[in-house]
């Protein structure tokens, strides 16, 4: 059996195991479901009024989707760290299975969590007046892009788990980087209002690209007062978003796998 086939097979077995676990402890999904709800209503009604009202609420959803999926990487960090602490991991490591499977199985099963988050966010969006105005194909591309992005973020979570080696550390490391990274972006505001250096960071922040892309693909225009950004990243948001997802996966997946190979517990 070729390496790729066995990697895919073994990862799907691990993903199956992870999903059984999620089904039996649905409480684990609470954050993934409740957080987007909170953010949608918080930003729409607390900040939304000052930022443009109805049009802002429509603009907001793309940002919330990008933010929620970035936050979901912390699930990967926590649950992978938990798995690594189990005696079970010694069994996995002593089996003739693919060395990629434990991590790829996790990042794959976390896509299901993300799909649930996306659905919840969209339902909240529909409730506050957000609509998809582009065609079906375009919307589908938008959702596919969101899942690719989520998968990429998951690999960052995996590296955090493998670096932290304890659930507590993985939990805090997995969360702290999320706030600056998601807020220094065009997820919730027009980046032209940011001071110079932050503006440059935000313009090239993949989260900006993802949020901008899905707004384009779902047909959500920015509120009237918002200055539309220019520059290559803004003009080619979809391409840049896809490229940055691929880059993140290309950088973080080999790191994660080599870290997993090197783990020697005690």
């Amino acid at each position: 059996m070729s390496t790729l086939v066995s990697a895919a097979r073994d990862s799907s077995v691990i993903a199956w195991r992870n999903l059984l676990t999620v089904r039996r402890t649905p409480g684990a999904l609470v954050t993934g479901v409740v957080q987007p709800v909170i953010f949608v209503f918080l930003l729409a009604f607390v900040f939304g009024g000052s930022l443009g009202g109805g049009p802002y609420r429509e603009f907001l959803i793309g940002g919330i989707l990008a933010q929620t999926l970035t936050f979901n990487s912390s699930f990967t960090a926590v649950y992978l760290a938990k798995d690594l602490q189990l005696g079970l991991i010694d069994r996995f490591r002593s089996l003739p299975m693919s060395r990629v499977a434990v991590i790829l199985g996790r990042t794959s099963s976390d896509l299901v969590t993300s799909l649930i988050s996306v659905a919840v966010t969209m339902i909240c969006g529909l409730l506050i007046g957000w609509r998809i105005t582009e065609g079906f194909g375009s919307a589908l591309l938008g959702i596919t892009l969101l899942l690719l992005f989520s998968f990429a973020m998951s690999w960052i979570g995996a590296v955090i788990a493998l670096t932290a080696r304890s659930v507590e550390v993985a939990q805090s490391l997995g969360l702290i980087w999320l706030f600056p990274v998601t807020f220094i972006s065009g997820a919730f505001v027009s980046i032209d209002t940011l001071p110079g250096p932050l503006q440059a960071i935000a313009a090239w922040n993949p989260i900006t690209a993802v949020a901008t892309s899905v707004r384009e693909l779902f047909g959500n225009a920015p509120p009237a007062g918002f200055i539309t950004s220019t520059g290559w990243a803004a003009d080619n948001a979809v391409i840049y978003a896809i490229l940055s997802c691929i880059a993140v996966i290309a950088v973080f997946s080999p790191i994660a796998v080599s870290q997993y190979r090197r783990i020697s517990r005690r």
Binding site: S6, D10, R91, R266
Partner: protein, 327 residues
């Protein structure tokens, strides 16, 4: 079947393995006996490819753990110190998962899981989550997971640590009937009794080195199998008692009296018979005792005999102690 040559592994300044060499023949149950920290688990981890040794070689079923770990992984079944089962999955799902990860098809995995559940007496709880299993059931599920592909080599790392006496006996039975069946077994334990019960050959290790090796009868002969403990009523009886011990047991007795001069312990290779004769002679010569006991040697006694000093990291738990702690 398993060959270790001069294995070394350091963790910083701590020498976990300090030149271990062992040769385990096909079909043998080999017991690796030692206290906590002696290097048992490190040896197991090297053999199951979980860690790499700093130097030395290890061959399992003809494959080197260094150059062909995948072939080693295909040839072994590992049952670790802490039952490595997925608590959120049912017993059935655990076995299917392991079978799938060994590369079996879905259909084969399902059939093998059912078969193992029946063999290990877990069919009734097959659909329950492993998290709800008792300690003994979990251990059986873990052992079953190690046997999924009927590997030629099975490695059992302290298979009964933390089990109550009943579950321990139960596990022993599983090992002798199911695990045995033609496979080569490496078993680590800190209980002399367990090694004695299960293993064909035993190596005693301490501080990462093999300090004695042989069949269990060999070792027992060398270790003064059982011990007599006598508490005298009068200190005057000490001289006479030592004479009697010397007469009946002779040189192997190596009697030791405590500071009060009332309590004497001595090795008794013939066990019960030695004790009866000693008591009969004491009675005949008019010495009275308030207490007389015959005990199996503990790992501490073994170390005392082999090294002249107590085990470096005290296990000091006899199976009975563990039972009191519970699971």
């Amino acid at each position: 079947m398993i060959r270790l040559e001069n294995l070394r592994k350091n963790y910083g300044a701590f020498r976990a393995l300090d030149g271990i060499s062992l040769d385990i023949e096909e079909g043998q149950i080999f017991g690796l006996l030692g206290p906590n920290g002696a290097g048992k688990t490190t040896t197991v981890k090297v053999l199951s490819t979980l860690i790499r040794p700093d130097s030395g070689t290890a061959l399992v079923a003809g494959h080197s753990v260094l150059t062909d770990p995948t072939a080693v992984r295909r040839s072994i079944g590992l049952s670790g110190q802490y039952a490595a089962v997925d608590e959120k999955l049912t017993g059935y799902e655990n076995l299917v998962m392991v079978a799938r990860l060994y590369g079996m098809t879905r259909r084969e995995s399902v059939a093998r899981a059912r078969e193992l559940l029946a063999e290990f007496g877990l069919s009734d709880v097959a659909g329950k989550r492993a998290g709800a299993y008792s300690g003994g059931m979990r251990r059986r599920l873990d052992l079953a997971s190690a046997l999924v592909v009927r590997p030629p080599v099975v490695i059992l790392d302290e298979p009964t640590t933390g089990l109550d006496p009943r579950a321990r006996l139960d596990t022993w039975e599983v090992i002798t009937t199911l695990v045995r069946a033609g496979t080569t077994v490496l078993l680590t334990t800190q209980y002399l009794e367990e090694a004695d019960q299960l293993a064909d050959r035993i190596a005693v290790i301490d501080s990462g080195q093999v300090i004695a090796e042989g069949t269990s009868t060999d070792l027992k002969g060398r270790l003064g199998a059982e011990r007599i403990t006598l508490t005298l009523t009068h200190r005057d009886s000490l001289e006479g008692t030592l004479r009697i011990l010397d007469r009946i047991i002779g040189e192997p007795a190596r009697p030791q009296a405590d500071s009060s001069g009332l309590r004497i312990t001595a090795s008794a290779p013939l066990g019960q018979r030695d004790l009866l004769q000693v008591l009969a002679d004491l009675d005949e010569e008019g010495h009275s005792v308030t207490e007389a006991a015959l005990c199996r040697p503990t790992l501490d006694d073994v170390f005392l005999d082999l090294t002249g000093q107590p085990a470096s990291a005290r296990p000091s738990q006899t199976p009975a102690d563990t039972a009191e702690v519970g699971v």
